[in-house]
């Protein structure tokens, strides 16, 4: 077993275990922090796949920006535990059937995907080791060139998407206050600000 295989299993194990713990946690803050650990494992896998650019933006954008946004909201809403113990018990009783169905569906999904991969292997479509493959594209230079030539239009559309998401988030999260009277100044309006 070569070092790359050991690294693959370690990093993949970190990603899988951390992801499982994300959905097993009661406390949303722990879930968010564990998801950052999972992203760290995935980032190592991207380095193994000769994609350092993706590994770095995984850490900077996903772990650094998106997850911090999640943490902000979790702390803003101030719900440390999603339910009290009693609620939890009622919950499990009410939802036991649907939770079992969900678990079965997820298991089926794994079986289906594994079966698809396995059958692709028997049909001769299996992929060999990553070593005997065409040269990897690692440089940011090449990625940037392709991004700004062949993918220039999707890139521009992305900027519009970000703008729309930004405006949409502001509009959705804004508290609907009654429009202040014509004479009311900003100081008067700020007294009736909500707690959050």
């Amino acid at each position: 077993m070569g070092p790359d295989q050991i690294l693959f299993y370690v990093l993949g194990g970190v990603a899988v275990v951390a992801s499982l713990m994300v959905i097993g946690q009661r406390n949303p803050i722990h879930s968010v922090l564990l998801l950052i650990a999972s992203f760290g494992g995935l980032s190592g896998l991207y380095i193994l796949l000769d994609a350092p650019f993706v590994a770095v933006i995984q850490i900077i954008i996903y772990a650094g920006a998106i997850m911090v946004l999640f943490l902000f909201v979790v702390m803003l809403l101030n719900v440390a535990r999603e339910d009290t113990e009693q609620d939890e018990r009622v919950h499990v009783q009410v939802h036991r059937g649907s939770m079992r169905l969900g678990a079965v569906l997820a298991g089926l999904l794994v079986v289906e995907l594994v079966w698809a991969l396995a059958s692709a292997g028997t049909l001769g479509g299996t992929f060999g080791p990553m070593a005997g493959l065409p040269a990897p594209v690692t440089s940011v230079h090449v990625i940037g060139q392709v991004l700004f030539t062949r993918y220039a239009f999707p890139f521009e559309v992305t900027s519009i998407l970000i703008l729309v998401a930004m405006v949409g988030a502001v509009v959705l999260a804004r508290r609907e206050t009654p429009r202040p009277a014509a004479g009311a100044d900003a100081a008067g309006g700020s007294e009736e600000r909500p707690a959050f």
């Binding site: 790359d4 949303p28 946004l69 999640f70 594209v137 392709v146 992305t158 999260a173």
Partner: protein, 100 residues
């Protein structure tokens, strides 16, 4: 040597974990986190396939997926904040007014 199939299997397992989270959990924030897990599983597929074919396309699509994930997280969290203000709850079953 690690094969592409191993990466695809890992990605399938991660995707199923994310789907399990969406099916099983009753917390809007955890459901959004599970969606992020699924998006990352797909990203791993893209990067592994891009590496196998020796092109930059896989990495560029990951870039776009991350952008969409950021937009989705921003709008989704804004919706969660607005919902929490209405019902003081993060349970999706608390928001069934539109259900017939």
């Amino acid at each position: 040597m690690v094969t592409l199939n191993q990466y695809l299997l890992l990605s399938a397992v991660l995707f199923a974990i994310g789907a399990l989270g969406v099916f099983v959990r009753r917390n809007l924030i955890t459901i959004l986190l599970s969606i992020e897990i699924m998006l990352n599983a797909v990203n791993l597929t893209f990067v592994a396939a891009g590496r196998a074919f020796g092109t930059a396309d896989g990495q560029i699509i990951v870039f776009f997926v991350m952008t969409v994930a950021a937009a989705e997280a921003a709008v989704g969290l804004a919706i969660i904040i607005a919902l929490f203000r209405h019902r003081e709850s993060l349970d999706p079953d608390a928001f069934t007014s539109l259900k017939w």
